[in-house]
């Protein structure tokens, strides 16, 4: 049976009125929770699980996956409008998306994010349909040594990604690495840097940290600038709701590259969609004729990463469908949903229940189209938010943040953590230090350490494991080249400066 007959079977399942409705409900719900910071797809899907007991297996999975990729769409909205990354992957969207909004270009930013996501979603759906089995071998090829090298490359990319002084970026990465050490070490069971506080036993959570560093500190610094006192909105001159032809020309290649990166990295279990989105950002910045535009509202900086994270979100279904293992906590929930329905996720699913397998895949394409149709008209409404006087807007932002952080674990101490991170973030703005490298160091650091030690345990203490694996060696080599390429110009500039003096 070729792919087309299989896809036709899938569409025949996904296009029944009932399943179309579940798909619509899922995508709508997903968009909504994506927009609300802190309330993520994990909590939502967990709450809806008992409801799905009574649905058909296909209907249940179609709705739940709709929530997941819908949330990826919605997550970019708050990142662009108010600098609030609701999820790991939208941290990168803040970097250029919010400057665009401040410049009155929130409309084009939101539209390009939606279009990029749509394109990436379509491509990734086809990829899942055609090459999910070969892509599984990518996941198999990544052992601890390869993960370590990938993370090392990621950290080097982080320096590239930062604007301003590389030294400050390195400092922020190190601070992030330190933060990632907090909590119980799985290799020794020891508690590190928890200061005896039970809430830190499991480590610092990403959401309060990101919300504090980006969202809360942004609120403080806006208030300081006096925008609130004068009752002024965040931006007065909103220029256009849709991207211009020039914007589209700039974004198209970024969307293509982002989709490619996201599709491949999405298959790896772990923080793949975040790694994908900032790998895409770093690539766009490197390829740009004028890298200095990045961080000040470059549309490619929104288009690339948004496409990458959506492609990654979609292809993270591959390990679930092909191997029956979850690549993130949403996928773990999907496994729970499948087991409740009496389905065993794994390689036999495709041959035993082709209607379900292909139906879910076809629904992803339909869902992405629905999301585009839902989101484009909404842009007009979202952008109006920026017209609200800031003294009315910021209490709402603070409230949403607090509710979001609290509702993750029903833990008041995590709201405090967000507040502390907010103060820290304000300090960083004053010191002109970028918070993004810190967050990336935080996310990558924990995985890097675990995989380093795991690799060393597997090799019985022989560090050659990192270079004897061709994949790991190649990743490390790219990292080294990038490092040299970043440091050399900085040294040369300094020398030139010295000569001039």
């Amino acid at each position: 049976m070729d792919v087309f007959t299989q896809l036709a079977l899938g569409f025949s399942v996904a296009l029944t009125p009932q399943n179309l409705l579940y798909c619509l409900i899922g995508s709508l719900l997903g968009t909504l929770i994506g927009v609300l910071p802190g309330v993520g797809p994990v909590a939502t899907i967990a709450m809806l699980l008992p409801i799905t007991y009574n649905l058909s297996p296909a209907g249940a999975l179609i709705m739940l996956s709709g929530i997941y990729y819908g949330a990826q769409y919605g997550g970019s909205t708050t990142a662009i409008l108010v600098n609030l990354p609701g999820e790991t992957s939208s941290v990168v969207t803040c970097l250029d998306g919010h400057p665009m909004a401040k410049d009155g270009r929130a409309g084009p930013a939101l539209a390009i994010a939606a279009m990029g996501s749509f394109f990436a979603g379509c491509v990734a759906t086809i990829v899942i349909a055609i090459v999910s089995t070969p892509l599984v071998s990518v996941a198999m090829a990544f052992g601890p040594a390869e993960y370590f090298s990938l993370m090392a490359l990621g950290l080097i990319l982080t320096v590239v990604l930062a604007r301003g002084s590389p030294l400050k970026a390195v400092g922020m990465i190190l601070a992030g690495l330190l933060l990632s050490l907090v909590g119980t070490d799985i290799h020794s069971g020891a508690e590190r840097l928890t200061f005896g506080l039970p809430v830190l036993t499991g480590g610092v959570d990403f959401v309060p940290l990101a919300m504090g560093l980006f969202g809360l500190s942004e609120v403080v610094s806006n208030l300081e600038k006096g925008t609130a006192a004068g009752g002024e909105p965040l931006t007065k001159n909103i220029r256009g709701l849709f991207p211009s032809a020039h914007d589209l020309r700039q974004s198209a290649p970024a969307i293509l590259r982002g989709t490619g990166i996201g599709t491949v990295l999405g298959v790896l279990p772990g923080a793949s969609s975040m790694v994908a989105s900032f790998a895409s950002y770093a690539l766009e910045k490197k390829l740009a004729k004028d890298p200095s535009r990045f961080g000040k509202g470059a549309i490619e900086g929104v288009a690339g990463p948004e496409s990458a994270n959506n492609a990654g979100a979609q292809t993270s279904f591959i390990p679930l469908l092909a191997l029956g293992i979850p690549s993130n906590s949403v996928m773990a929930l999907m496994i729970g949903a499948m087991m409740i329905q009496g389905l065993q996720p794994g390689p036999m699913l495709m041959s035993k229940q082709p209607d379900l397998f292909w139906g879910v895949i076809a629904s992803m394409w339909i869902g992405n189209a629905m999301l585009l149709v839902i989101n484009l008209p909404l842009i007009g409404i979202w952008v109006r938010l920026l017209n609200i006087p800031y003294w009315l807007l910021f209490p709402g932002i603070l409230l949403l943040c607090s509710i979001g952080v609290y509702s993750m674990n029903n833990e008041a101490s995590e709201v405090l953590l967000a507040a502390v991170a907010g103060v820290l973030g304000y300090l960083f703005i004053k010191l002109k230090c970028e918070p993004a490298p810190l967050l990336l160091g935080f996310v990558l650091g924990g995985m890097m350490e675990e995989n380093l030690r795991r690799a060393m345990l597997i090799s019985r203490g022989d560090p050659r494991i990192f270079v004897t694996s061709p994949l790991s060696a190649a990743l490390l080599a790219v990292a080294a080249i990038l490092l040299v390429a970043t440091i050399l110009p900085a040294i040369r500039q300094k020398r030139e400066k010295l000569v001039e003096d």
């Binding site: 994990v42 909590a43 899907i45 967990a46 699980l49 008992p50 996941a139 198999m140 090829a141 990544f142 052992g143 601890p144 993960y147 909590g183 119980t184 799985i186 290799h187 020794s188 069971g189 020891a190 506080l197 039970p198 809430v199 830190l200 036993t201 499991g202 959570d205 279990p269 772990g270 390990p319 191997l323 029956g324 293992i325 979850p326 690549s327 906590s329 949403v330 773990a332 929930l333 999907m334 496994i335 729970g336 087991m339 409740i340 009496g342 065993q344 996720p345 794994g346 390689p347 036999m348 674990n409 029903n410 833990e411 101490s413 995590e414 675990e450 795991r454 345990l457 597997i458 019985r460």
Partner: protein, 320 residues
């Protein structure tokens, strides 16, 4: 005068009601705290029971996930909650091992809770990829003996049930297999199936599913005898008598919760666990129902604590 009498009678009947706490419970929403993430088996089972309980008790029963502080924060919150039976925490087979590893943690499972009942249980599984040269459990021990320190097994964090089973086997068989810690089963599974790690020690929930799909071959499971849901997998105890370990889930409430409330909840759970649809859903997840009395649950936790402390001391496992 008549009015007076009526008022007196009303007051008397009210006080009679108040003296029967089993009837007054529950008077509002019941919260079940799950200290592991959404989607794990405690969460899925918790939500299944919550739906059934709220049907039977006529009050909403909700599940809240609190993963803060490796689960310690949420467990502690229930231990310190009002002892009125409206806050339940789901303990797991991993909770006693956590306490054995952390003598300084802020609560003691045997003293600070009103234990209600265990809910369900599953064994741990020792498994290899289908093409592994290791033929069966005896062969594994022989190969481990011939190559001391060479074989590796995937597990969860230090002090997890995965780790304790691996080390228990090491002790009883006199072998030295190296545990490699992973966060969750996914990456462990990929490393085992691609041959980087020799075998997998994982939960029945995960492993039996993969065995059914032909992606893993089970060498042994840790139930005291053959396990109902996988009768063809030999027990570890058949080769190494004395080793048995079940991971379980159980309900606990704050310490001074009135005994009638505990008994009522125990009875409801017992009846729910006997329902065919509940049994079927648990079986899908590799679980069998395991209701108990509060005393049996206390006994289980105490003996596990003692056993884990013994293994931890023998292997010098320390959280340092």
């Amino acid at each position: 005068m008549l009015k007076h009498l009526a008022a007196l009678a009303a007051a008397a009947s009210l006080s009679a009601l108040a003296s029967l706490p089993a009837l007054a419970w529950p008077d509002r929403q019941i919260t079940i705290t799950v200290v592991t993430g959404a989607g794990g088996s405690p969460d899925t089972v918790g939500r299944l029971l919550a739906a059934k309980l709220s049907e039977r008790l006529g009050k909403p029963v909700v599940v809240e996930n609190n993963t803060a502080g490796a689960g310690i924060a949420g467990t502690l919150a229930v231990a310190r909650s009002q002892p009125d039976g409206h806050n339940i925490v789901i303990l797991t087979g991993g909770t006693p091992s956590q306490q054995a590893m952390r003598p300084k943690q802020p609560y003691d499972l045997t003293k600070d809770f009103a234990l209600v009942t265990t809910l369900c249980a599953y064994p741990m599984v020792v498994a290899v990829p289908p093409n592994s040269p290791i033929k069966d459990f005896k062969d594994l021990l022989a190969k481990a003996k011939a190559n001391p320190g060479k074989l590796s097994y995937s597990m969860n964090a230090i002090g997890s049930l995965h780790h304790l089973l691996g080390e228990w086997i090491n002790i009883e068989a006199g072998v030295d297999m190296q545990g490699i810690p992973y966060r969750g089963s996914s990456q462990a599974f990929l490393d085992v199936t691609s041959g980087r790690v020799d075998l997998m020690v994982d939960t029945g929930t995960f492993a039996f599913g993969q065995v059914k799909q032909g992606q893993l071959r089970a060498l042994a499971q840790s139930a005291p005898g053959r396990y109902d849901l996988a009768p063809d997998v030999p027990a570890v105890a058949e080769t190494l008598p004395g080793i048995n370990m079940m991971s379980w889930l159980g309900f606990a409430m704050a310490k001074d919760t009135p005994r009638p409330v505990v008994d009522r909840l125990n009875k409801e759970i017992r009846e729910i666990l006997a329902m065919e649809d509940v049994k079927a859903k648990l079986a899908e997840m590799g679980n069998i129902p395991m209701p108990s009395t509060p005393e049996e649950m206390h006994q289980r936790i105490s003996s596990e604590l003692a056993q884990w402390k013994k293994i931890i001391a023998a292997k010098g496992i320390k959280a340092e």
